[in-house]
Symmetry: C2
Subunit: 527 residues, 2 copies
């Protein structure tokens, strides 16, 4: 078909332009597009033009809020091994018995009135700064795996080299809006020093916003110190430059490590993501309503605590929702019940006036197969439609979070691009209405060559760099490849095409000097 | 953990009960559950307790409706090679010029006032009859592929044996509510006779509702005749016993084959699913709003035509939405734009008061890999949340609809089970609120053994028969299998465990005699 060939030529040019990262349109860009190479330019954080999907009505929401109030007052939440926290709660009017804090009705909500509804999370490159809350959605990579599935197909412990690679990939992925935090655990670096290399990697190899270390209060302090070398002391104290993952030790416990990190970050005005880590049936009741009640109670306690530390410090309503298999006790992902939990939690967060974190591309599968994709897709579609503001684990998560997978990262980031397009909703402009096109083409013809198609095809549809839409015969000629094979090749081409964003050499030197001094000050520890 | 082991034992029993198909609980059922075997009992059609997701507001909906009215009046729709249709339109007040019908504003909507908003689609087993419209959702298998991917991994032309197998699988799949229509094209049977074997297979090997043949008016008549042998003459003339897929030849054409089949079915009070078959960019404009306008115009014309044939005959607002790759012209699936189209079309259908068909588990991938799963999952999640009433292609679709895949059928039907659970929404009963459980467990403990968990774990979470949630080590011991390998084994075990539903031998004989007489009356044709 002539029209198709014509379009194909034009498309290559358009695509080349999109992928060239400033190399200019034309022959070189077209060549780059044809041979794969790097991705397109980074997209700004998502501003959702679509509405939120809701699973609870006013009655249900009120019921869960009222039940959470009863949990807070009658059962209470424990803040363990932290005398300061208990004293702050006592002074605020809570009933503290041992490490158990009982909250008079309304106390937490009252304290949360000083928490910002929305705020900016600054990147060292101001163009990459993102908005947190409201209609904004931000994607960040997988967080925490000790293992990787590498490009040679090995499952092995992660290294600092892997860590750098995932930061690079997050920096390059167009719809990844943050380079994240612990994209994998670099277990080849001493446990008491690896946070330094991790924070440095985020600053050096990406210019997107990053997350701080939470594994010990002094590591949180180091994060702040390094951020100050980049952003300046005063800027850090008055702006958010790190988001920090504070997991509740569900059910109804905040431990000294998490509270310790929270205190450091809140004091420096950095954002806490208060996240009940829930495997329903183990850490919460086996029901959606019961789980939501407990999540809300835990978040109310943890989030309001940030305001005891520093009024106005940013805090997110976090939720990590999965279930367990009742046969084996193993975590399961992408199933309906955790989706209902997350939808409900998003509604509770909006009513509370806090930005919301949940979801991602979660799965239990050991390999990036259809199980991994179904579980991830069920989770990710929910994440977007729930109106989630901050999406951790948006790409790369495999095997219940034990593994960061290069191939899955590539497959997932492609899906993030789809979500970003979906969030644009329906364009109702006169051009989009296309009445002239319908008139021009008329019954029984086709739209391939019509003026409206020619004018709009470059931006009309999301283009996947990984989906194979060719004929069976063409696919067979090209080696009958599965998507993970294409993802493997694309990942290699990205890492090859990677170019670091500019970093002021003086800042780089200061960071390296700080790290060296810190590393020299204590012996290595590996546990 | 003691609790886990205890739960695991109890779970096996519960599961055995679910899977035993009347074999009774106890040792035999537990053994059956452990060894795989058949699926659980069929579930009733879905009655959605969750709300519909919407992408258009009142202004957008009115705009598209007004634009569709303009298309109908100013551009018109062609009804080709059917003098009767043109005469009926002329008599109804349309402006007919050649084969082009121009519709005065409001004519189609006025005619559609006699179409039922909801109706029953009867199965030969009354327990399997389904409700069409409103809050009901019905899943049916893939429709139309000439090829199969068989259990030996071959991609080859489909046979009548494959056809029977997919009917059996649809009959067995708990969340498949219809055995569908052309689950694959049995190309080993002459083209002018295969509809007889297909309809017979649906009646013989399943007792769920089925779809009629639409490839020629006389094949539609044969479908009616066979249905009458099962349901009785009068019942068929006054009730819906077949749903029938009437594709528009987009843009803006209904051809003589489709109109011929529509006329037969509408005259006999059988349901027509008026479905614009849209690959945006080829059969419709490259924009969502333009595509929706054309879809609405086509459905208004086709659906209202059923009421010219017989007032009150059931008709569905159908939509098949995909896009094309602007590089190659190839169809693409699971991308954001067709999802927006389908969400919008569902809203337009509800406003029109017609049951809605869209979605399924669509994909372009050649194999059931992560591409297939992502594309299918994006489509299927949308399908459920859009509030779709009839879901064709809900399982088994591969390679843009060219292939019926056994393995993908099994993977998809598992996802249908998840959708069915999701549709139940959030239980807010006192038991589900679980306040006593939260109180009993308290901070720092776990819910594995608590009374509430013991009382609720059997029905708490959707249980996938295909997802592997085991540890990496266990998964490796079991052969490091991908989900399609497990799907292959499960499919074999189902087909082995299959037992036909009872069929009155007199009806069976009458059907076979009818088929023989029909087959003897004309020579075979293969084109």
């Amino acid at each position: 078909m002539d029209q198709e060939i014509e379009l194909a030529g034009a498309a290559a040019e358009g695509d080349g332009g999109r992928r060239s990262r400033g190399a200019g349109r034309g022959a070189a860009a077209r060549r780059a597009a044809r041979t794969g190479g790097g991705p397109g330019p980074s997209l700004p954080y998502i501003t959702r033009k679509i509405r939120e999907y809701e699973v609870l009505d006013e009655e249900g929401l009120s019921l869960i809020e009222s039940n959470a109030d009863r949990v807070l007052e009658e059962i209470g939440i424990e803040f363990r091994e932290d005398a300061e926290a208990l004293k702050l709660w006592k002074d605020a009017g809570a009933d503290v018995r041992g490490e158990r804090v009982h909250f008079p009705k309304g106390l937490c909500r009252e304290l949360l009135k000083t928490a910002p509804r929305e705020f900016t999370w600054h990147a060292r490159n101001p163009e990459r700064s993102v908005h947190v809350g409201g209609k904004a959605t931000i994607f960040a990579p997988v967080y925490g795996p000790p293992f990787v599935r590498d490009l040679e197909g090995n499952r092995r412990y992660a290294t600092i080299e892997d860590f750098r690679n995932f930061v690079k990939l997050a920096y390059m992925a167009p719809s990844m809006h943050s380079s994240g935090g612990t994209v994998c655990e670099p277990v080849d670096v001493p446990v008491n020093k690896r946070h330094l290399d991790m924070i440095y990697s985020h600053i050096k190899y990406s210019d997107k916003p990053f997350m701080g270390s939470v594994t010990a209060p002094e590591r949180a302090e180091d994060t702040i110190a390094m951020a100050k070398l980049v952003f300046g002391d005063e800027f850090v104290e008055n702006n958010c430059v790190t988001l920090n993952l504070i997991n509740a030790n569900s059910p109804m416990v905040f431990d000294e490590t998490m509270v310790g990190a929270l205190k450091v970050y809140a004091r420096h005005n950095q954002a806490s993501v208060i996240s009940p880590f829930i495997l329903s049936g183990a850490m919460s009741p086996v029901t959606v309503a019961g789980t939501l009640t407990q999540i809300l109670a835990e978040v109310l306690a943890g989030a309001s605590f940030t305001q005891l530390i520093r009024k106005g410090s940013p805090v997110l309503f976090g939720t990590f929702a999965a279930s367990i298999s009742m046969q084996s006790g193993a975590p399961t992902f992408g199933t309906p019940e955790p989706s209902l939990v997350s939808y409900g939690a998003a509604q509770l967060a909006r009513r509370l006036g806090l930005p919301f974190r949940t979801g991602g591309s979660l799965c239990a599968s050991k390999v990036p197969d259809a199980q991994a994709a179904h579980e991830s897709s069920n989770t990710l579609n929910m994440t977007l439609l729930a109106g989630t503001n901050f999406v951790l684990h948006a790409a790369g998560w495999l095997e219940g979070g034990l593994v960061s997978s290069y191939e899955k990262f590539m497959i997932d980031q492609d899906q993030l691009g789809m979500m970003q397009k979906m969030a644009e909703g329906v364009d109702l402009s006169e051009n989009a209405q296309a009445l002239d096109a319908i008139r021009e083409v008329g019954p029984g013809s086709h739209y391939l060559g019509c003026a409206h198609t020619q004018a709009n095809f470059q931006t009309a549809f999301y283009r996947s760099a990984l989906a194979d839409n060719n004929s069976f015969e063409q696919w067979e000629i090209e080696g009958s490849k599965r998507i993970e094979e294409r993802a493997n090749a694309l990942c290699r081409s990205w890492l090859e095409a990677y170019e670091a964003p500019p970093l002021d050499p003086a800042i780089d030197e200061a960071l390296l000097a700080f790290i060296q001094q810190k590393k020299d000050s204590v012996p290595d520890a590996f546990t």
